[in-house]
Symmetry: D4
């Protein structure tokens, strides 16, 4: 329930098209919608979050049992607005799509989602990535930013070992309001992009690489120590977080 | 053999309902019950532990071969009192339940157990967790504390990003004698709970999360550095240990 | 040389108040101003940065020899606009202030600076910190954001173990365009702030704490794993970087 | 201001020995007492904590500038009840004792404190340590527990390489309600103590040792992985936290 | 080819029962026996090792392709004396036993071996372990020490949380020439054993445990920091190395 | 497109055997050949690299989706010169060989490749490895160096525990222009080789080993700290990088 | 009090040259000699250790306050037999030598000691080190082994980058009963020595080196992963432990 | 004694200008020159190294006692050819320069040296660094390469956040035979340089930076994971090693 949904509801009450009982019913699961399994509460959807944050609570599927996940998803879909599930394994995606045909598949991002038809894309978020293997993370960022109302433009596979591939994106570098730069291995791309633009750069380290990449640690440390001052960092493989913050900055 | 069981036995000897030979037979595997495989000793059940600690030795199933596990479980079940097996894989749980139908399944906790019918629940232990994915660990804590005689009340999925979900547990926060707070990712919930209550908080980091969560390290470090002074910490995913200590404090 | 300075210069050339030779002289150290020591180049001031980024290159004093630092500072002060030196030790601060009386001291931040008189503060950046020991880092963020043209409002010593201290900042939480949240130890404050506001939160881990704080690692990991989706992170003790990005978002 | 102090104050108001204005004056810095430096707020004493937690906010001196520390200490001393400063360097201890002669020195613990004369020691907390070098941490625990109202009994230098030194403490092992076990190096003592008693053991790793002790990491990991189920752990060198929780359990 | 085998061969040459050509033929693969795959050398058996070290080169199966492993094993079996393969996966064990029926299976140790019939067991090596899950590593040590000619006596599942289980091994503690102590989790057993005996203790950390056990790191660090001075350490799960060195000390 | 290919093309244009249109067509994907999936760009082959570096862009298969990998490989094969894919899983190797029969299999290296028929092997690169288990990495180095035009000679399974196996390679140690030394576990071989020769040694740590080998970290650190001054290091298991640099040095 | 001292005492009692009271007086501090500071016990000398272990408790000076150290040393010197203090800082060494002139200085080892005049050196322990900077640790091993009755022979500065320096020690390599090999940086020397001899090698990593030596971690990991099977390891810089175990093996 | 020196000596013997006794005297300390302190050998100069490696053994001053260092330096200076001491503290540098006036000071590198007058600089080694704070390490590389006979050209302070500063070195990038690239913080410069040139790049991570730079770990990991294939890495701050290998490649 976004501020917009709440405003509509209150307007309907104000002009009498919705009576108090109807409104209360619609608000029954507000600000917390408890999810139960065999009677016990196993989840508490923060239905107030869309009011507080402008975007409904996103469901991190990883680590949740399928049965719990299905129940939580059902509750989430029962509320208006966008729905997003991240880090959904292939197997779980299959199960959930079967159960909830309204969910779209975000492949190569490991996401399922239901868009909010009411949003008009605004601004411009640029998403760059260093290699083809970073695509699942980059696409998670793209999907999130779009769901949250941003126009998004991408420039993929532009690692620093071939700078001309990055410089080919000159127009995008000039126009975007905020940049998401996704890279694994040594994670040098955000520093180079950060040096070229005067807007915020959100760096996303990925777990791509091997050996001393240590599951993304190398890229993470590189980005945290960036010599470019306009770079902030999110967790390894956290395309969602980057897309989220980028859309907040984009709509500022 | 708990102090209670031993007291009963000695009483029977004292009033003649049990002769010395019978008592010796019952004490034959005391204080150590050796478990053999092809003649060689592969386990030494600490049957004195219930006397010393008030609760029988708990069997950590992980890392034990199935054949050894079955033998050890058989010995454990042959003694009176509660029996608890933790970190039992799905496959082993299936095998053991078939072999020992008296064992109950603790799902979503990866536990098998036989309750001690003689205990009356006392006090109040509160178990809170930050997310639905933390349930298996939280339930292990619940199960352990209940087996050891505590009344337990739960409040799940109350992460700090939506504080109203935690504050909804106000009554529980006021009443419980001791708190178990389970969280993965940044592990911030114990600090917030610790700041709200004046009783001991046992923090349990979980391995939930990804990337820089490093298998629970992030949550563990966060909890060890808690700015709330009433917080102590157990190992990552160690719901059992938390439930154990909580029940000791609860019955103090 | 900011875009504004360049525009003024070109305007002067255009309307004849400055001839080409004079303009060239003023642009002699553009886009790189080399700093020499005994003839050898030891520094290359990126004088083009103010054009590219809207703020001149900032001088990280740590690790530089005093003699090099003095030379670089001299060059930096010879260009128009703000000047900022970060991580300047007490000893070096004393030396530099003596040599360059126009430099102001940013204590408790370990900074020296010369403000740019031409900027009008705009917007609102909120800087919060968890404990009094985090002040040097928080003040570095405040100083940077102000130098870059932001209105800044602070709320210090508001750790999560006493939530009412944070909630006392309700007005600030509602108004600011972007938040800088500074914390050491378990670093939980950004998650809690992130859960309360719908704007970007820049988390700054500090090296405050001891033992398993591991020089800020605990706080850093906590922030990277934040369950609040609007949080991005900068390096440990990097108040400068946080102030820099916050001012970029603030003026967006 | 502990619950007791508040009760007294309200009683005075109720029976007219204190008028409302006087009471308000006494409550002026409640629930937060802001500390200022040159007009700016640099600290927020959580004066409500004694009500919430039964013990006033403790001041972690480490990392705080001397001038800030003096101001905060002055505020703390202006409130009734115990006052405790931990991790105070030698130099700062000297300064503070000179400025506030009512502060007592907790050497070998790096603490300063003012006891609360109104508390009667109850129960029994046992503090054990493995080596003489662990004394500063052990004494911090002793001091904290005593300030919070516990009777404390010590048994120092009882490392596991000479078990008879530990077994000599048999009487204490039998009587205490809760145990604090302090050890550096391999940190094995809590496991052995935990195996001998049926009450909670709070393990405190210390930074004593060298090489692969890694500043207490070895002891910390050892304690977190204890095979004794009644062990919980606090941060490296955190004698204060252990004493705090032990006193909570002791008075339960 | 042990010194004994070489001595026999030379004796035969000396008394004419073997001519020079025959001797040379037998020494053809001395001191290196190259193993080829499709013509290329993929292994160099150090056949001189038995002379130098008193025991033939042991084959670490892990990481080797099955085809290479089979070739190397074939060569090894073609030389006289004991043969030992360690860290052989279940699948590879099956393959190799089929191909080389003379190999015996060392389960629960992941070993295959062919004993050297000529050795008479001497001395006494004690092998203790903390838990049943440590058995595969402990048995690898037992097997190695026996193959190398030591009498071995075991005492398993004697963790420090129930000291009476260890003290039950008093006779063994008094008699053995050298001790191998195997433990996972906090790895405290070697320190306690080391404190009780005046002979060398070889500590073997195992990867048993979970969470902050970090794959044996916790036990390893604990053992390296042992407060007992007679403890040395080998790699995590390296039962073989411990058995090897123990047998060297045993026969000294 | 290597410098040679480009030279040929320009020569053809110069002497009229190729008209401008034909040349343009051949240069259509120069300097970047974009790879698309459902219309979106998922890869940017750096076709200029062969000009810049003397060797075409190598494809790191790990982390790339099979569908993307097939498209990228197709593009790569459409350009003249050598093609190399590294870290190709067994499953992907099978798929790709079926689809592109011109690809050869580099087993035991996890590589696929198409050689460049025009290169004549020059110089001499020596590849040594410590154990049979290091072969896949060593062979990746061999294959890369050969593809890039070097004569390569190998000496495998020559670990430092049997020095005579290394000294047997005396001739090779004297002749080679550059050495690649591959080792896991303690990674000591490069130091010993480095001490024997006066030419550059490229050390390749492998992930072989167990326990405290920590996936190659032990070998990596050992090599970085080599007391031999002629040793440089590449990433764990990075035979490709070692072969690449060795061939650059070899042809210098 | 070593077994010898005890035997003498009992003999004197047996043949009447010492009466029971005198014997009791001499045994007053047996098996624990408590050390007090202002009445409180701050140390418990394990005077039984010489009986149990054949060598009195050694005093680790590091981390102990000077006043405590002086008291403990005084007690130690009051018992017969050898006395050894390790890791004594320069400042403390000066203080203690002044106070106890009977203590000898072990420089370059940071030790103080009083030899036991009654021991006759036996066997042969070889101590080798890789570089001159490793001398303080190597000498600590030498001193300890000599105090405990071993003949010791040294061969210093024989790093693997110049193998002829090691091979020059051929005679020593052949004769010694046990080897102590001390090395920092990559720590490769124990593997090479281990490959050359058939007796136990005790490896001592040192904190010598810089950068990725990480305070001895690199050398420690290298030694733990040694491909030579006769190598065991002690803590970083623990020359004492190595000397202790070596002398146990030497006298076996 | 370089091959050249040896050749001269043998020539003199051959043509009778030096008799055998004189030659022997000159070769007395060959191939090892032992250094003694109070009679005991504390160092073994590898005087054969110049023959084997083409450059005399370099003296790592760090960790050596001043008295030992002076003795070793005296021996080194007594042999012909270049002499280099690295990582010499300010204090030791002062002492040594006073004692050996022929030593030159390499500031800002922490080195002392005596050049070999007989070498003619050849080829071209390029040394680049990212920031002014990296100068001491970069200059150590410069000094080493020059001592070993290379022509060296530098381009300092060219970090990736201002790419035009790097591109200004175009001529150098085209000409040099080998590149040394020195950088701290995220260590991205070697990847960018590596992408621009087709010759070997030796990356030197420095300990410059703070927080998550972890003493150079971040830069080290970044360089090891470089996406440019022509990059190899040396230890943190190891300018010497980089200069050494670069000169070997340069003279190949």
């Amino acid at each position: 329930m976004t501020p917009k949904h709440l405003q509509n509801l209150l307007t309907e009450v104000a002009n009498g098209t919705l009576n108090v009982e109807g409104a209360l019913e619609k608000l029954r699961h507000f600000p917390t919608d408890t999810v139960r399994d065999h009677g016990a509460i196993v989840g508490r959807l923060d239905t107030h979050r869309a009011i507080r944050h402008g975007f409904p609570e996103v469901i991190l599927a990883q680590g949740k049992k399928s049965s719990h996940l299905i129940k939580i998803t059902k509750h989430a879909l029962s509320h208006p607005g966008a729905v997003l599930l991240t880090r959904v394994s292939k197997k779980k995606r299959k199960k959930l799509k079967k159960r909830f045909p309204e969910l779209k598949d975000g492949t190569p991002a490991s996401c399922l989602y239901r868009p909010d038809s009411q949003t008009e894309p605004i601004g411009l978020v640029a998403v760059l990535c260093a290699g083809t293997a970073d695509l699942p993370v980059a696409e998670e960022a793209v999907l999130t930013a779009r769901l949250m109302g941003a126009t998004v433009s991408c420039h993929f596979d532009a690692g620093v070992a071939g700078l001309h591939r990055l410089l080919a994106a000159e127009a995008l570098l000039k126009k975007a309001r905020v940049f998401i730069v996704v890279a694994g291995m040594e994670g040098a791309l955000p520093s180079v992009v950060g040096g070229l633009v005067d807007r915020p750069v959100i760096a996303v380290p990925t777990s791509q690489g091997y050996g001393a990449a240590f599951g993304g640690l190398s890229a993470l440390l590189g980005m945290l120590n960036s010599c470019a001052a306009n770079v902030t960092v999110v967790n390894i493989d956290n395309g969602f977080g980057a897309g989220y913050v980028a859309s907040l900055i984009n709509r500022a």
